[in-house]
């Protein structure tokens, strides 16, 4: 089995907590973050449920101690908070001491600000500063400046698999010796743009999302940010760092079927998982827990289920669950928060419950883990699939 790249720090802010500890407690105490939307005025407020971070923009500005004339989008603010937590957790005090990079991920970027002020810019000069915070790159820029990081900074945007791809690239940059440390993850704030976008696709549920349930109606959107610090074994040894877990496998493939729907047999998902196993050198049966993408849309769960059965063939599919009933689907941040949850699962020997599950899907014999389960976890597989057929799988292992 390949050793994998060391994870030395994590940071997270989501609808179920503003730190790693808070998120973990919510996961083991069935405390969900899904509710009616509060921070964004929308005509759909009564027919959707979302996983909103329980902080207003004013509170975020205050927490980051930003100046009054700042032009941070909400996406950038939650990203900065999570990244700072991760860097602190990794015990990094001098960010540019070694060759350090930041690989961020986002799908909305600063859209939360853009849509607020879109038609006001011409009349209100004090809002013009927000024009430049719209694009995805600006979010990484803001996070890098908050960290004081000067080295390699870039952003991946492949819809819902974005953060998995950031983690993947980060691992490869360490393995190839191009960087000594890299902060990887993703961030996405809620926005009318995405709420309405998903509404037009008719895949939002007006109720609590039920992944892998035969009566599932769709997803709940969420917002979150999470970052992890990956470091080379050389630096880990040099600085005597504690390794939380390792990124031991990864794979990305394209479904090449349709812009938004997944193929019936989950080709992209299957290929991504297969690749992750190849990279890790692990056998499918060695996985102790699968954190599925499980968005609870009719399409994803069917496609992902089929792909899992193809990977496992005659073997039993390991314990699996989706944590999206807790947090909602946090788009580009999803794979990052689920990476944190995967590491926590390994550290604490738990399999999280797939909440809201009642009736198994009629198409196959797959039942997610319904309750919290304590067991030794050596390896976790985490899936994230996005629009454009972008399918990514990560494997995390105990160090």
């Amino acid at each position: 089995m390949a050793k994998g790249v060391a994870i030395t720090g994590m940071g997270i802010i989501s609808s179920i907590g503003n730190s790693v500890e808070e998120n973990y407690i919510s996961l083991i105490e069935n405390k969900i973050g899904i509710s009616r939307i509060e921070n964004i005025p929308t005509v759909h407020a009564d027919v959707i449920k979302v996983g909103e971070i329980k902080k207003t923009n004013e509170e975020l500005i205050s927490e980051l101690q930003l100046s009054e004339n700042n032009n941070f989008s909400r996406t950038a603010m939650i990203g900065a908070l999570a990244a700072k937590q991760a860097v602190e957790n990794a015990g990094i005090t001098s960010i540019n001491e070694f060759r350090t990079g930041l690989i961020s991920a986002t799908s909305v970027g600063g859209m939360d600000m853009t849509e607020k002020h879109y038609f006001d810019y011409f009349e209100k000069p004090e809002l013009v500063k927000y024009i430049t915070c719209h694009d995805g790159g600006d979010v990484a820029e803001k996070i890098a400046s908050e960290l004081g990081l000067k080295g390699m900074v870039t952003t991946i945007s492949t819809a819902c698999s974005s953060a998995a791809n950031s983690i993947m690239l980060g691992a490869r940059l360490i393995k190839s010796g191009k960087l000594d440390r890299v902060i990887v993850g993703g961030t996405d704030a809620l926005a009318k743009f995405t709420i309405n976008g998903f509404k037009t696709l008719m895949i939002l549920s007006d109720d609590y999302n039920k992944p892998f349930d035969n009566n599932r109606k769709g997803l709940n959107l969420g917002e979150a940010a999470a970052f992890l610090v990956l470091e080379s074994d050389e630096i880990v040894a040099k600085q005597n760092k504690k390794v939380l877990a390792r990124v031991s496998g990864y794979g990305n493939a394209n479904d090449a079927f349709h812009q938004t729907a997944s193929s019936e047999n989950g080709d992209g998902a299957y290929l991504a998982m297969k690749k992750a196993f190849e990279v890790s050198g692990l056998k499918p049966s060695e996985i102790d827990y699968i954190n599925v993408h499980g968005t609870a849309t009719p399409n994803n769960d069917l496609s992902e289920g089929r792909a899992l059965l193809r990977i496992y063939e005659d073997e039993k599919v390991p314990d699996f669950s989706s944590t999206k009933p807790f947090t909602g689907h946090t788009l580009a941040a999803a794979a990052a928060i689920e990476a944190v949850y995967s590491v926590l699962a390994i550290q604490n020997s738990v399999v999280y419950p797939n909440l809201n599950f009642e009736v198994p899907m009629e198409e196959f014999e797959l039942k997610p883990q319904k309750t919290l389960k304590m067991k030794n976890i050596e390896h976790v597989l985490s899936n994230s699939f996005g629009f454009g057929g972008n399918c990514s799988t990560l494997i995390f292992s105990k160090s």
Partner: protein, 85 residues
Amino acid sequence: MEALKEELKNKIITTLNLEDINIEDIADNDPLFGDGLGLDSIDALELIVILDKDYGIKLVDPKEGKSIFQSIETMAAYISANRTK
């Protein structure tokens, strides 16, 4: 009904951006999806919005669209029977 059918053909051509197609090219009973005009699931969602915006008919379940959108004929019949605008 004839006027409605022509209106629908126009709307489909403009909304779905079918540049090379004229009203004469769409027969009332031609299948709109799959083989005939070749529309797909995203086009179905666009048609659902037309139903709502222009004719006041709200479809909650996208699967209902399958029978309604079979052809211009079936669309016109459904709209005539259910329109509120």
